[in-house]
């Protein structure tokens, strides 16, 4: 984005008359707005897709009434949610009850700034992009804990605590799997990592150092699925035990922000997975539409495929128990990710 600003400053248009700081600020605001708009659109489409996918898997029709094949259903639901009464329980901590959903949405939003959308296009091209994304998403843990605590409700509190314990545990295998990739590319910059796998499907990092990177990808996929609190890891909002978990006491607009951030997080982990293991913005076919803005298409497509697998798993698998959840994280995924690091390290030395 800095290159774009520089180009505008040295161009003949009226942008050149503005001060560089003002122009940077305008671009920052526009970038942030764009991210929020894309995330809102993502939630609209993803909720519809989820309902249709589940219907298809259960041999139902799903939403069919609003618009052709029910395509406007989520739009109608959004309007309903926005005009719904905002209920705050009398005994809740009002300030924290208000703060928690916004904190939950800020975390994935901030992370989207660092993703590589196309060749040489990132909102913020920093050197430590991967590390920044893992660091900033830890904010959502705090948000869920605060939401559970502020609601002053047993189920909400237990759900919040479960969510926090789960996310903190699964951050470790996910981080180690990311480390495997960072180690072989030698950079924490998302664009460098995408560049290292440019030139067709056989250059993708998932195939390199077979089978270590493939295992690292599976570890990363499962761990990030758990971090999104999705089935089979949806214990924090297990409806048969905890009503709705940490958002039991939320309604209307604030509840929809929680939903928005859940779908934003799904998109985020899908895109990070695509950037680290599946070639990022580069085309799967060598030389086919592998230039400039086409990168957005490929990157988005890879993200969508990963999200569809999230949905597929959700409507296929039953939920894990708490002890199975912790067992999977600490005794299965973590050792495997360590094995990947050691394996790739030895291979690189050999």
């Amino acid at each position: 984005m800095r290159e774009l600003i520089d180009a505008l400053l040295h161009s003949e248009t009226f942008f050149a008359k503005l001060s560089p700081t003002l122009l940077t600020l305008i671009f920052m605001a526009l970038g942030a707005l764009l991210i929020v708009l894309v995330l809102a659109l993502n939630a609209l489409i993803a909720v519809y897709a989820e309902r249709k996918v589940s219907a298809w898997m259960q041999e139902r029709l799903g939403p069919m009434e609003v618009g052709p094949r029910g395509i406007l259903q989520t739009l109608a639901d959004t309007v309903k949610l926005l005009v719904k009464e905002d209920i705050i329980p009398a005994a809740a901590d009002k300030r924290l009850h208000w703060l928690a959903p916004f904190l939950a949405f800020v975390a994935p939003c901030a992370a989207f700034a660092a993703l590589p959308y196309a060749r040489n296009f990132v909102f913020a091209n920093f050197d430590i992009g991967v590390f920044y994304v893992t660091a900033i998403t830890s904010l959502s843990v705090i948000a869920l804990l605060l939401a559970g605590w502020a609601s002053n409700n047993k189920w909400a509190l237990l759900g919040g605590m479960r969510a926090a314990a789960q996310i903190v545990s699964y951050e470790i295998p996910a981080g180690l799997a990311i480390l495997t990739i960072v180690m072989q590319v030698g950079s924490l910059n998302f664009n460098d990592i995408s560049l290292a796998q440019d030139g067709g499907i056989h250059h993708w990092l998932i195939w390199r150092y077979f089978p270590f990177n493939l295992i690292a990808f599976l570890v990363f996929y499962l761990a990030t699925l758990a971090e999104c609190n999705r089935t089979p890891f949806d214990l924090p909002e297990a409806e048969s035990e905890l009503v709705a978990g940490f958002h039991t006491e939320y309604s209307g607009f604030k509840w929809s922000i929680f939903m928005l951030s859940e779908y934003a997080e799904m998109l985020l982990v899908a895109l990070v997975g695509a950037a680290l293991f599946l070639g990022g913005w580069s085309s799967p076919i060598p030389g086919f539409l592998n230039t400039g803005a086409w990168g957005v298409l490929w990157f988005g497509l890879k993200g969508v495929v990963l999200i569809l697998t999230h949905m597929w798993l959700r409507w296929t698998l039953p939920r894990l128990r708490v002890d199975q959840l912790m067992h999977l994280s600490w005794k299965v995924l973590t050792p495997f990710s360590f094995a990947c690091i050691v394996g790739v390290g030895l291979w690189m030395l050999a």
């Binding site: 002053n152 509190l157 903190v168």
Partner: protein, 165 residues
Amino acid sequence: MTFFDVMFYVLAAMILLSAAIMVFAKNLIYNAVGLLFAFFGVAGLYVMLGADFLAATQLLIYVGGILVLLLFGVMLSQRITGLEMRTGTLQMLPAVIVCAGVVAILLRMIWMSPWQKTEVGEPAATTRTIGTLFMTDYLIPFEIVSVLLLAALVGAAFIGRRDAR
């Protein structure tokens, strides 16, 4: 005043305000939330100093680790076992003496140190340098810390398991 200066004062105000909330709020959860924003402000200052890696580490360790642990502790003891936890003012006189001493030392340090002023340049990549230093000049401290953390991990697992048997 440049944009850089404005950002500095915004961050400084944020740190001071949230630190004040952290110190003066009676409710332990509010203390933790104040601490959260203070950590964020400090991370912002690190970014302004060009220490991007340090800023991300600050977020990962303090927000993602220590603060979560702190909130966990408070929630488990307060809402679940019903233990009342509030902060209060105790031992007024010794506290004032200790604080005045610390303030005096800090003020003296601020006045006496020869502050270096440099122009704000393009931030350079720090990660590679930090990594190299950890593996060469600071290898022993790095290893000692990792052994210490491992010991803490084993100890925590041991304490956690003792009740089960």
